[in-house]
Symmetry: D3
């Protein structure tokens, strides 16, 4: 505890941008159905769709001091990722911190705890994915760390990993795998386009994917 790592590596901005465009569901499938944060992580408003490099924060329950420390470490395009050291639903983050983070170029916040001032954040267009919305304030008494590995909502995240977040939730992509995952995500998207058209025309997935044989083999009985 009490460490701030000042230099982190990030993925290429264009790779990050395109991962964001692919979206959480596609990216998570493209890396073998891994990387999804817990489903209780919900956006405070609909329609946001972002990707960025994680600036990670490990913070004590009910203490948001390290958010101030982390904001100094932000580079444009980053996403703050806060994991409390034990379960907490306090409102660590509000409009003043959002103003500061936005001024430093942050794209949003992912926090396994609470946020507040959600009306202001919505008006500012600063998206947050959180476990709770809570006005309950926090203190600034105990150190945490910045840019160390954390576990946030069930996923291990390192500083510089790519965070993708949209209405479906949040997904993390290892920095070193970002390009490979993007490639697979785009291949997947291309393949889906054709499938969508066939399904829209009434073709059954049973036929399109050729599932009937394997279902029969497993013993499926039609009665």
């Amino acid at each position: 505890m009490g460490v701030v790592v000042q230099t982190i590596e990030r993925a290429y901005a264009e790779v990050i941008r395109q991962l964001g465009a692919a979206g959480v569901a596609t990216v998570h499938e493209a890396q073998g159905r891994t990387g999804c944060l817990a489903s209780y992580m919900r956006p405070i408003f609909s329609g946001a769709r972002i990707a960025g490099s994680a600036v990670t924060i490990s913070a004590p329950p009910g203490d948001n001091w390290m958010l101030h420390v982390a904001i100094e470490q932000l580079q444009p395009g980053d996403i703050l990722v806060l994991a409390p050291t034990s379960p907490c639903d306090n409102g660590y983050f509000g409009d003043l911190l959002a103003t500061s983070a936005q001024a430093r170029g942050a794209m949003g916040l992912v926090i396994d705890a609470g946020t507040r001032d959600v009306r202001d954040l919505t008006e500012m267009g600063f998206p947050v994915w959180s476990k709770a919305i809570s006005a309950q304030g926090t203190v600034k008494e105990t150190l945490g760390s910045v840019n160390v590995p954390v576990v946030c909502a069930g996923q291990a995240i390192e500083a510089g990993d790519v965070i993708v977040a949209d209405d479906d939730g949040v997904c993390v992509v290892r920095r070193a795998e970002a390009e490979a995952v993007l490639e697979r995500a785009q291949a997947r998207e291309a393949a889906e386009e054709a499938k969508r058209a066939r399904l829209a025309a009434g073709e059954l997935g049973l036929d399109m994917y050729g599932m009937r044989g394997r279902l029969a083999e497993k013993g499926l009985k039609y009665v």
Copy 2:
């Protein structure tokens, strides 16, 4: 496990349509305050108000294979109802399956698990009531069954039962009772209209319902 019932009986389309118009709260009251699925079943977008015949799916946790099987069994106006065999919040359903279900005439999905691609589903106007929103994908390895009796979010549901769903949640009406329930629902709606006007004019429920005597009898004390 591993059974697909291909022929199910449905209630009359017009009865179903009018149950949908009556809405969940009224229909549930009309059948003696029964039939509501658990309150954690929430719509992915506001304003949808549907009714249809249940095509039921019993599926293993983390396995959405049976959704493909069920879609073949859909008739226009049906609603897919998926109950996992043990608690699961995976995203069983997304935009491709919705495209397929919609092409076959499905009105929506009720799932005691997760759904994903919620932005796409919203744009398509395909409503889903679910326990969770989750991008976490599923496999296609283990059989389940289609159109067998299931327990979904606390209610026993059989294929062909009428599902009513709106912003208040989801309610099931036994197929054979659909007409009788509708009749009582419409009587209730008619009665409420007059009450609403009196209450809006400032009359108290205490007086309108004649509650004062019974409250006094029970011992209510005004101090």
Copy 3:
């Protein structure tokens, strides 16, 4: 049980109004980070921002009889606050009760249980903060009490206390402290205005709040 207190003291209307304008997060900070109801208390629609005097209701699980009794005790500007005597997510409240409460001048409802008819309530502009949305109806068989002290979603609330509610949740202010809290809330708001501008200009909280010295003292290490 079974008591209705008919005379309660209220804070000054203008004080209440201004507490509402300050909002939940500011008011809760202004009274030493106290008074927030549990974060599971969520509004049924976004954008409502109200304050009013609590008319409290202690009701059995699954029994909404006392809501009718409480509505008679309402004065314009009041907020109904219902706490069940044990955990319950039933829909105690719907459009008829809302019509009646609104006719008597109620600003809204805070209920540590469920509400229903949320589409109607939204159209009526009658805001509710609740633990659940549920169509499940209730009976009228067992007495509770009105305007007695209750514990609602983790906070002790007395009749006449000021309730402030917005998109961040719900906060209670003791009636006797309302003016003092308002004064501190307004001082806080004024101070925040200047801070917001500096943060927006890119100044760091670390510098603006002079945190660097204390962080170093506590042992924070930059690596």
Copy 4:
């Protein structure tokens, strides 16, 4: 609501007894991995292992009146099964009801709500599987039904179905399937005995079940 079915069919006493001896895990496997109630249903003391015919109770939240009605319907060897009509953790059942139920020959209680007087029940040797332990008492104001189909902790249960309960939880067996399930359960138990000995001697499941080929086929890589 408000119906008591007085005549129910039960499975053969000896079949029930042997299902109890097989235990929950074995019985549930023997019927295709179905029938388990939710895992939050826990025994109030360890070591109880019972089976009996379900006398079902549908009761309102916070109202235990129907337990008195149900006790009259008990035959020796029965198990009370109570499902509230909406989620509730009240203590519906205590030492007086247990004394009465035990005097009528009941083997135990399965309740998707709370129980109390757990020290007394433990001393009496009257086992209860419940969602909660709670001293919170209930009223006797609203009717429910006895020996109607219920959904209890996620499983549909009919009066006369066989309930098996032990330290692993609770399982239901359809009355008409009791004998067939028992046969498969006993076959399974016999098969397990031999496997246990081989595993205890250090043989691997990978070899004993011949899994290596299928794992390799699926692509498992040893590195």
Copy 5:
């Protein structure tokens, strides 16, 4: 925050002792089915049955400093009651604090958070009712208060109120009502003795309580 009330009034020791002997379920019934803390408050070991005067603690999440302050305020026979200012499951309390509290005469701890060293506490015979068992330690950085009113697990508790705790959970009795509640509890116990004997002899509650008439009136149908 930051206040220690040093002088509190307590109920008579003998009254407290006898309330403890009556137990949680009886005491809670004797005061009109009020006072039970939430059912998630469970004892760390079975069989403890205590009553004492509350020494209350309001503490921040993850900060157990005030426990040290509170221990100085203990008198023999007191029970520590800790309520965090927001939800927290940290282990605030362990064997050193228990050693200290026991040396000052404390009977036990009721904590709406976590405790640890449960094996040691069990060996010491120091009972704790808690929301969680957790080894996660806490800091000593932020003030709370001692002997102020708190809300603990859903109940408002003031310093000097009587806490009764056993295997059924925890109940609070207002200090000023302790004698009256005890009287009713003892009357209730006396009445139950006779009932228990009649029920054990096979008499039905339906007959003993004379319920049949009222059930018929409500419309209960036997089929």
Copy 6:
């Protein structure tokens, strides 16, 4: 997915043994209050106190195939650690697997899901810390991985890390830090011995830890 790492490094057996003797609470404090798994991870029986090297398993929801694969990788003194890829409470593990694991020298199982056959496991003395007890069985259809990094109940765990588990829950120690943590744990234990004696004699923590000055500085008021 689908990878088995066959060679893992382990800490020294004697270091592991002594970490187990120190216990979860002490070890977690000795490493800066880190490493505790979520408090919902509870032992199936009281009194077990173990430490061992983690053999990690990443498994799909409802699929226990990889447990068979992992058992082959066990060395005496190891502890199985299973993390499902999404939340699941199925009973992945029972007496046959325990027999096999015990024959290969496993000390126990830590599983962020369910276990069953708890009576048998208790009789065998095979301890399990789990999220749930559930008889619900699993399939063997989808690959997972063995000895890869996992997140289990909120903590990142690598194969070969030291797992310490007792009645307070579960803690992980990085393999490379095991010796340093042990040293600090033992220093802590030695220091606690003296403190315990002084507290038992009635000395206050306020005095023993010299807290009064800092409390006054922070503004604590005695009234």
